[in-house]
């Protein structure tokens, strides 16, 4: 089985985001970029499938720091790594890159395309259904378990409230991973150093093919809705206040 797994580099959303001068994008100059969490799980699922039944895993990374994450992917078990070129200092729109991914899936004779179910920059739509529809392959998003039995996939999808639905589908297919069957593994420094010799292929982007798309006019920070009370940053004072608040509401343990 040939697996193509997509790794998108996104701004660290735990960090502070500031608007750029044009008001239509975020200031990317001082941002840390990291692998989209869901894509990390997609990579893990790809490696788990390879370990379970044999597969060739091609990792495709896009965005700032793609080379670094591709070395990590190689250290974790990816057989081939490719950096998809993208416009510098622009957000990674899944709608924009879907055609490139679909083209690579064809070129690599992929049986399965895996990516994270979402990213923080996919405001114009999610990658798995875009790629699935472009290729006219079946797609399922929000998976937390993928088992391959030859060309038949058994895929479990989270539906909320703890309900999980299992589907069966045949490859070729596109899956949007929510959670890998096991938590993503760590790689040792020595493995990373070894993997740093892995040659990184390059791919040029294709046109998205969409004639009409929505467009961002302005970005803004949400108004801090804080009607709540700020207890401050001193742990001792905060603890004192919380004990009083909980007691007043009858919520201290009884």
């Amino acid at each position: 089985m040939n697996i193509l797994v997509i790794l998108r580099m996104i701004p660290d959303s735990a960090g502070e985001l500031q608007l750029a001068e044009d008001g239509r994008s975020i200031d990317r100059e001082w941002l840390d970029f990291q692998l989209n969490d869901f894509d990390d799980h997609a990579l893990e699922e790809a490696i788990l499938l390879k370990e379970a039944g044999g597969a060739k895993v091609t990792a495709v990374a896009v965005g700032e720091g793609a080379n670094r994450v591709l070395q990590m992917a190689a250290a974790r078990g990816a057989d081939e790594v490719v950096a998809l070129q993208s416009e510098e200092d622009a957000m990674i729109s899944s709608r924009e890159i879907a055609a490139s991914i679909a083209a690579m899936a064809r070129a690599k004779s992929a049986d399965l395309v895996l990516c994270g179910v979402q990213s923080s920059e996919d405001v114009f739509g999610q990658l798995a259904p875009y790629v699935g529809a472009l290729l006219d392959w079946p797609h399922v998003s929000g998976t937390n378990r993928i088992v391959a039995n030859g060309a038949v996939l058994r895929v479990t999808q989270e539906r909320g409230a703890g309900v999980a639905v299992t589907y069966e589908l045949a490859t070729p297919a596109v899956l949007g991973v929510q959670t890998a069957s096991k938590a993503p593994r760590y790689v040792s420094g020595s493995k990373l150093r070894e993997a740093s010799k892995t040659p990184i292929g390059r791919a040029m982007p294709e046109s998205s093919g969409f004639e009409r798309s929505a467009e961002i006019i302005t970005l803004r920070l949400p108004v801090q809705g804080g009607s709540g009370e700020n207890l401050g940053g001193n742990a001792e004072t905060v603890a004192d206040r919380l004990v009083t608040i909980l007691a007043a509401k009858g919520l201290a343990r009884n």
């Binding site: 959303s13 502070e16 985001l17 969490d37 979402q118 920059e121 405001v123 114009f124 739509g125 990658l127 798995a128 259904p129 699935g132 529809a133 399922v140 998003s141 058994r154 999808q157 989270e158 539906r159 909320g160 409230a161 703890g162 309900v163 999980a164 639905v165 299992t166 069966e168 589908l169 045949a170 949007g176 929510q178 969409f210 009409r212 929505a214 467009e215 961002i216 006019i217 302005t218 970005l219 920070l221 949400p222 801090q224 809705g225 804080g226 709540g228 009370e229 700020n230 207890l231 401050g232 940053g233 001193n234 742990a235 001792e236 905060v238 206040r241 004990v243 608040i245 919520l251 343990r253």
Partner: protein, 322 residues
């Protein structure tokens, strides 16, 4: 202009966000416009009894399968779009909607905006406000019509549920599409709440990514025990395997409404807020003063969560005489 409001339901339950999709369409409709609700599933009666706020209802009726694969839903929706030529299709941000929205946008070539909170109509286009970066940024977008929008649950108040006149209901058979589909449902697993049911818990201590590592969860668990609370986690914590899935709060976990919700190191992504913003008392601790969790918290603190847990545990221990 026609609006198609996509609705869902399974296991004899119509999803509440279905009525929000109808309300969103209704809020945009002008004289001469039509709001068409679209439903796929076994509970055609439930849909007919609930979607009276729409002008018309198209039901793709399934007889066997309770859960409809998104692929089949999208296939049936495509036929309806071809027949109706709507100006706008509203899809809920749900497990199903995530797969349906971009699929439909690809096959029609129409624009799509996801995670939409607000919609304004401006002639032949729309201005919408959508969430990005875990709710830390709002994007105002211009959307030429026709288009597809994926709407956040809770962004629009539910339309009044009520029956729709039988003459306004058109029923089609979903079975051929289900039978011919490439994705087959083979099992539904409903969780066993014997061990823990967060939805009925009165007090919850929820840990987020800020807890740092698995070992530190014990500190929060001890605090929870002292408070008589259940321990819970946000998605990253559960995805890392630090807490079991049944203890996850949020969109892909449980929706909870406890008397006390103490959030430790939870940033408050929209998907998390969807699961807990209705709690009676929300106390949030996060070193990032811009964390969206503070938008719903009644009390917020920006101290180090470990310092707070230590101090609070000391005081509770002293108070209980232990």
């Amino acid at each position: 202009m026609k609006f198609i409001a996509c609705t869902e339901g399974h296991s004899s339950k119509i999803e509440a966000f279905s009525l929000e999709m109808i309300a969103a369409a209704r809020s945009l409709a002008q004289a001469g416009d039509e709001v068409v609700a679209f439903f796929v599933g076994r509970d055609a009666e439930g849909a007919s009894a609930s979607f009276g706020a729409a002008d018309r209802l198209i039901v793709a009726r399934a007889t066997r399968s309770d859960v409809i694969p998104a692929e089949t839903y999208a296939l049936l929706l495509r036929d309806v779009i071809t027949a109706e030529s709507p100006g706008l299709v509203l899809v809920p941000y749900s497990a199903n909607g995530l797969d349906v929205a971009a699929d439909i946008a690809t096959r029609t070539g129409w624009p799509l905006v996801s995670y939409v909170n607000e919609i304004k109509r401006r002639g032949e286009s729309l201005t919408v406000v959508a969430q990005m970066y875990g709710g830390k940024i709002l994007a105002e977008c211009e959307v030429p019509l026709p288009a597809v929008l994926m709407i956040n649950p809770g962004a629009f108040a539910e339309a009044m549920p009520g029956p729709i006149a039988a003459v306004s209901v058109q029923t089609i058979d979903a079975e051929p599409a289900l039978t011919g589909g490439k994705v087959k449902m083979v099992a539904i697993d409903v969780p066993d709440y014997a061990d823990v049911d967060l939805t009925t818990a009165e007090r919850i201590v929820c840990v987020g990514r800020g807890i740092g590592d698995e070992a530190s969860i014990d500190l929060a668990r001890n605090l929870a025990t002292m408070l008589g609370a259940e321990i819970a986690g946000s998605r990253p914590v559960v995805d890392n395997g630090w807490l079991p899935k049944l203890r996850q709060v949020g969109k892909s976990g449980q929706k909870v409404k406890p008397k006390l919700y103490l959030a430790l190191g939870v940033s408050g992504a929209p998907e998390h807020l969807e699961g807990m913003s209705q709690a009676d008392l929300i106390i949030a601790v996060n070193t990032d003063p811009k964390a969206p969790i503070f938008n719903v918290a009644h009390y917020g603190a920006t101290c180090d969560l470990f310092d707070l847990v230590a101090n609070l545990s000391d005081r509770l221990r002293a108070g209980s005489g232990r």
